[in-house]
Symmetry: C2
Subunit: 398 residues, 2 copies
Amino acid sequence: MTKPLLKSLLNDRLSASPESLIVRCLSERGVLSASQITRVTGLARSTVSTALAGLRKSGMVVETLASGDRARGIGRPAATLTLNPAAGTCVGIHLSLDEMRFVVADVSHSVIAEQTIPMGLDYQPRQAGQVAKSVITRCYEENGLPMAGLLGVGVSVSGPVSREGVVLRASIVPTWAGVNIRDVFGAALEQPIFADNESNCAAIAELMWGAAVGHDDFVLFKIDLGVGGAVVQQGRLVTGIAGGAGEFGHISIDPGGDLCRCGNRGCLELYASFVRPLEQISRIVRRPVTMDDVIEMAERGDVRALRMIEDTAEVAGRGLGVIGSVLNPPLIIIGGRMALAGDILLAPLVASYERHTLIKSRDIAPALRTRITVGKHTENDALLGAVGLVLRHNSRLQ
Amino acid sequence: MTKPLLKSLLNDRLSASPESLIVRCLSERGVLSASQITRVTGLARSTVSTALAGLRKSGMVVETLASGDRARGIGRPAATLTLNPAAGTCVGIHLSLDEMRFVVADVSHSVIAEQTIPMGLDYQPRQAGQVAKSVITRCYEENGLPMAGLLGVGVSVSGPVSREGVVLRASIVPTWAGVNIRDVFGAALEQPIFADNESNCAAIAELMWGAAVGHDDFVLFKIDLGVGGAVVQQGRLVTGIAGGAGEFGHISIDPGGDLCRCGNRGCLELYASFVRPLEQISRIVRRPVTMDDVIEMAERGDVRALRMIEDTAEVAGRGLGVIGSVLNPPLIIIGGRMALAGDILLAPLVASYERHTLIKSRDIAPALRTRITVGKHTENDALLGAVGLVLRHNSRLQ
């Protein structure tokens, strides 16, 4: 029974013992070779070697095949190690306007089960706690997983969350405004609870399993019905002192522009989200058009859909250009539903970024250029990231 | 003779021995108590205690008085430790348009000597190397310092510097464009050379000795004849992949604005630097007016100077508001010559930031508010920061 030991190694953030450093490192990164562990932890090679021998003997760490699905760690590991999948599991929950989504994963970063529960508009937090309890209990039973192996529950929220777990200014999930996530799910589930906003969770998903694997510094930029994002520096989310980092939708790009819901003028979200374009295109085609519809229309060559995506990409690139002049990141990952448009969005976006940021790609060596790409988990990044919160021991609510 | 040992402990960045971690930590932070060292290094208390005993026995680390000038470390240490001042010295050089400034400091972070050498406009790099050599040699002789104790030379440049040490787009020091700082000073001085742009150096000075002591995350925002800055996260400078982070002057705040020298439109520098305001006020008073003149006029209550500072602060606050929505930093330090105006600048700047950033101070608890303050070393921040490069082993040119 390795679980209590694993839990204590993962939870004791103050311990600098080689064993706990290695376990935390594998929990954060999934699959690593011994030499990658040496590099990431900064420990001596011999120390890593001794500690790994003990961890393997106790069954906490196992060897894994480098080929196939499991080889999603950094680079191409030779002999790769991971936490023993039997050593523990985590649950991720994503809360949105009218549904709750669940995922169960083990500590080797493999997804065991996923489920979506429709909740109806404006469901109550207390109800959500009860649903979570019954879904998780049933899911663990059906998959033969011991509840004792559950290490923690991560919650992704469509709105800002304070460090204490209170949902702030919840314009997307109004019934959650002022609610403490820890109170709701901690009481119902009796587990350690972790929570963060969906953009930060999305960044964690891309960092652990997606387009940012192996990158310590990047920016996630979400284009959807809103505009948002996240900043990762040195492998850690930049939250800001009040949780306000990565609020790219409220970069003002036009001092005399329209009034934004935030009270400022000319915010990027007004021009680079897909709310207004969808209104316009719906009016022209005389039926309600969704973002998925627009992508499909553009793929079929519809000039109106193409123009709409191009124009939005142009403005988004202007906002991204500002972020470039502040951070000059090595990597920008485009998330949000509009990222599913792929190159149709990316080509004009990259051109606009080049036009509006200070450091121009054409002036510098390829290795120094900011790379812009779409996310790998756009469809369920927030949900996967909620699991990531637990595995990385990020944003734990006390 | 502790110097060779100190040099090897400071330079071996891969070593995770307690001794080298403690020495690097003291070199970076100056004065610390044993318990602060334990917290910062993450080592066990007993490990720190054993390693410190050895370092004190060898004379590398000495106890210092907690009162007076030396107590400029983090917080208020009880029994404080520092590297032995006799164990080594560093030189900082600041290169500007028509002069070179020098400072010599010891590893306990005390300044031993300062000197300014007028060079005339457009002096040649080779000349600078020779001047540096003679100034440093003379200074070490006069102060009875052994040249063998020199650990390295840090160079602050009024322009961007690549990781390899090449001065890029040197609009302020044109004769340095394309020149490699390592080649110039390494050849003349035969010492390890460190180099970075003046804004990054200024941030390091505030971090080590100024308004950011004890802060791991902050933004430096410079208002001078140009606008620039630096971003510090987790105690480290964010340089960006091509050295382009912190280029706040080139945040575009007006898509239809005037053309900027960078090729973009509506850049913050056009509106928030003091070039245009000085032109205007000089025209009105019919004589050339400097930034120092304007501050003096404003302090005497001259309504034109006051209005000029207020208007510039308003625009600067708009740009800062954008930075706030990207990073939501705990602390913003205003640097550059205009910071010397103190509250005359700060009051309208803080008001404008509040107006233009997403997270409003009035909505949140005092502990979560971004604090905006002026720098403590505005007059010589770049020069002090050049010393800091060596002490922190930052931006070493290989």
